[in-house]
């Protein structure tokens, strides 16, 4: 099953389910592959196949040319020269190496045709050469530059093709005239009156070739593509209304032809206006059937008009004797704009289809990603939400019938915030998005994140308005966040318990002091009571001291208890200065024991943030313990100092814990915030990692500044005032 016309088809090229000219870039374009690069070895079987194909083509061309010559009366041949288009198509259907076969068969065909028409043999000569050269040049240009990268129905392609169809005859006939002298029309002498002017016969032949090329080649190629599409997917591509419309177009063609051919019309010599009739049909063909439709109707109209003119029948008869060129130019000026129009119409359809396709694709992508479009029209003050969002909530079409249907599904608490967010028109940098809750059809809470984008004033007049945005389903994200918050809360508690473990020695000491005093004082009290005389004043003093020491022990326990408790985080206003004081209190004894000097430089005004007091204490305490450990590495006589500073930055509060320890090398300054990274012999190495989580939950950050040998400073930044996370 070798391809008879050597038309290769890429195996994966399947036509789209849509109209052909729309998806033409995916058409199974015949490639007319020219294997002229010589890289392939030539095998005998291949050569034989090519030869056989050439013979078949030669016979086909010869038959076509002969039939053409026989069918039309001889003068018609000169004004609408069909064979050049047929031969060009034969070239296009053939591999380049088989073109000699086409040339030979065309030569035979012309010879047969001239014999049938009874033309004198000496009329041939150079004109026969030009008759073959025209399609050869045209086919070569099309093969080389207009195939297969270009699309048949693009404006660029048809424009280039029109240029080729006009220029190829001009070049060949011009060259023929220059070489041979008098251009002799093939087959027969020109009609009456034409030969009077030396320039006119040349122009008649050029236009005869050009008209044939302009109409037959696009029509045939379009038909070929349509056939290939149909052959690939016969079931999907045949559509009833389309066939009916095609038949109607053919009928209209016939009617227009009849109008042209009508003898003795009511308008007399003005009957030439009926030549406009094909224009209407061509318009139809161009707009509805693309290049194929336009070229087909043009072909019919031109053929009929030429026949009419040369046989002096009807509308075109006025042209016939005096000015065939005028009729040819009329048909050519009809053909060129309509072909361009058909390509433009097809281009437009393709673009509109691609737009629809892109819209479908983005809509599908948006739904798959749970992203929904919103828009806010400032003129009408209405907010539109993608219906797909409602569908994802399980709402029915009737639920979404009313305007602003979705407000009723937004959690009332969040509705006000959402309105305000949109009313703010433009997302400020602190509020790039807003999370809100909606209830789905089953009453479950779903989380959505709204983003807004100001598209600029041009869009303000559009249907959607200037504010567009997205609403993203973030339910799973929120659930993950909740789990993460719970985890970090548990982790923080574990870490606090670990800190209490580290502090155990110091805390034991703190309890033992008042306990010792209590033991001793209680015995002393008994001795005083036993003594004579009684000294009630001394007893009272001792009892007061007992009570004070009891309270003191209780306070220590209370402090530890408060710190290590596993309770829900309590968000509330907290003064950073208080947090620092309380945390320092817990390590007070350690600092004394290790002979570390603590210096405070607290901001004079309260630095109030919204947060969890215990967790913030944990952060400061952790930094203090790290500093103490760092100082323990110093030699005995070195200066041991921790300075704690709180400062008021423009919108945040800063806590700086600075030590005079050995410092942290640059390459470790990032790693220390990772979990399980530690330099200590005891501890999990979770302290800074958890501190960072806690500070991040307060909307802040923690960083380190250190030069080896010059101590280290940890700086905690927390935004003042508002809570930033739930």
């Amino acid at each position: 099953m070798t391809a008879k016309f050597s038309v290769d088809q890429t195996p994966d090229a399947t036509p789209g389910p849509h109209e052909g000219h729309v998806m033409s870039h995916r058409w199974p374009l015949p490639t007319f592959r020219a294997d002229i690069d010589g890289s392939r070895p030539i095998d005998l079987g291949r050569t034989l196949r090519v030869a056989r194909d050439a013979v078949v083509i030669a016979l086909a061309v010869a038959a076509a040319v002969s039939v053409t010559a026989a069918f039309f009366s001889t003068p018609t041949m000169t004004t609408f020269f069909l064979p050049s288009a047929v031969v060009l198509l034969a070239f296009l259907a053939t591999k380049t190496r088989a073109w000699w076969g086409v040339i030979a068969s065309a030569f035979v065909g012309y010879w047969v045709a001239s014999a049938v028409a009874g033309a004198p043999a000496d009329a041939w000569g150079g004109s026969l050469a030009t008759a073959i050269a025209t399609p050869l040049i045209g086919a070569a240009i099309i093969r080389r530059w207009l195939r297969p990268a270009s699309e048949l129905d693009s404006l660029t392609w048809i424009g280039s093709f029109i240029a080729v169809a006009l220029l190829a005859p001009i070049v060949t006939e011009g060259a023929g005239t220059w070489l041979v002298g008098d251009p002799v029309p093939p087959v027969l002498p020109p009609p009456d009156g034409v030969a009077d002017d030396a320039a006119t016969p040349w122009l008649v032949i050029v236009l005869a070739n050009a008209l044939a090329l302009l109409t037959i080649v696009p029509a045939s190629l379009a038909a070929w593509h349509a056939y290939r599409r149909f052959a690939a997917t016969p079931s999907r591509d045949v559509r009833g209304p389309r066939i009916v419309e095609g038949i109607a177009l053919a009928a209209a063609c016939a009617v227009a032809s009849a109008l042209i051919l009508r003898r003795g019309g009511p308008l007399g010599h003005l009957d030439a206006v009926f030549l406009v009739a094909p224009a209407l049909v061509t318009l139809w063909g161009a707009l509805r059937f693309g290049i194929g439709g336009a070229a087909f109707t043009l072909f019919v109209a031109t053929a009929v008009a030429m026949y009419d003119a040369t046989t002096r029948h009807g509308a075109a008869s006025g042209f016939a004797t005096s000015d065939v060129v005028a009729l040819q130019l009329t048909m050519a000026t009809l053909a060129v704009p309509f072909l361009l129009l058909s390509a433009a119409a097809t281009d437009r359809r393709r673009i509109s289809f691609r737009c629809t396709e892109e819209e479908d694709r983005s809509a599908a992508a948006a739904r798959a990603g749970g992203v929904y479009l919103t828009s806010f029209n400032e003129m009408t003050d209405t907010l539109e939400l993608d219906l797909a969002l409602g569908e994802s909530l399980g709402l029915s079409a009737s639920d979404m019938d009313r305007p602003n249907w979705w407000w009723r599904h937004v959690q009332p608490d969040d509705a006000r915030a959402l309105r305000a967010f949109w009313a703010a028109r433009q997302a400020d940098e602190n509020r790039p998005h807003l999370d809100f809750r909606m209830l789905d059809a089953d009453g479950h809470v779903r989380w959505f994140r709204s983003r807004v984008h100001h598209t600029g004033s041009d869009m303000a007049r559009s249907r959607h308005g200037a504010l567009v945005g997205t609403v993203t389903d973030v339910t799973h994200l929120k659930h993950a966040e909740l789990v993460a918050v719970e985890r970090s809360r548990e982790l923080a508690h574990v870490a606090r318990t670990a800190i209490v473990g580290e502090l155990a020695a110091a805390l034991t000491h703190e309890v033992r002091q008042p306990l010792t005093a209590i033991l001793i004082n209680s015995q002393t009290a008994m001795r005083v009571l036993d003594a004579r005389p009684h000294d009630p004043e001394a007893v009272r003093e001792i009892l007061q001291q007992l009570a004070a020491d009891g309270r003191r022990a209780g306070d220590v326990i209370q402090r530890v208890r408060g710190f290590a408790r596993k309770a829900e985080p309590e968000r509330g206003p907290v003064d950073i200065n208080d947090v620092v004081r309380e945390a320092t209190q817990l390590v007070r004894h350690d600092t004394i024991r290790r002979r570390v000097e603590i210096r405070f430089a607290l901001a004079p005004e309260p630095l109030v943030i919204v947060g969890d007091r215990v967790q913030l204490q944990q952060v400061v305490l952790n930094l203090l313990l790290n500093a103490l450990d760092a100082l323990a590495e110093l030699p005995a006589d070195a200066e041991r100092r921790i300075s704690i500073e709180t400062t008021h930055a423009p919108r945040s509060g800063l806590i700086t814990v600075r030590d005079t320890g050995p410092g942290i090398p640059k390459e470790r300054q990032t790693a220390i915030f990772e979990p399980f990274v530690t330099t200590k012999r005891t501890g999990l190495g979770m302290g800074l990692a958890i501190s960072r989580i806690i500070v991040a939950a307060h909307g802040g950050g923690i960083e380190v500044e250190s030069e080896p040998g010059a101590g280290a400073a940890f700086i905690v930044t927390v935004p003042l005032g508002a809570a930033t996370s739930r």
Binding site: A505, R512, A517, L519, I520, N521, I592
Partner: protein, 134 residues
Amino acid sequence: MAPQPRVVPDPTFWVAIVDDDASVRSALARVLRTAGIGVETYATAQEYLSAATEREPVCLVLDVHLGGMTGFELHDRLLAAGSRASVVFITAHDEVPTSELERRAGPDGYLRKPFDGDQLLAVVRRIAHASTSP
């Protein structure tokens, strides 16, 4: 109840207490005074050093963990200066090694907090008797 026996034979016997915790310090002083023993208290090692140059106590009750100079450092200083005072170490910290305490003050010369008045009095009384016996 029987009249209290004199705890120390020497009426000039007195005890110096160095502890940075105020309530412990006052409790120690109170129990000794109630027993009829003279007491002087000091909050820091430096305070003791500057005051004790005039006359040296027979017994020195010394907290190991003092702010600034520690109890051990003070003890080293006193030994270097030829002090003959008997030292009773007191400590609230477990990590102070027993070996160190025994090396400095003997097996009965230290008390770990919490301890009661009787324990303190027993140690002080023993020192007082040892100081009066030839």
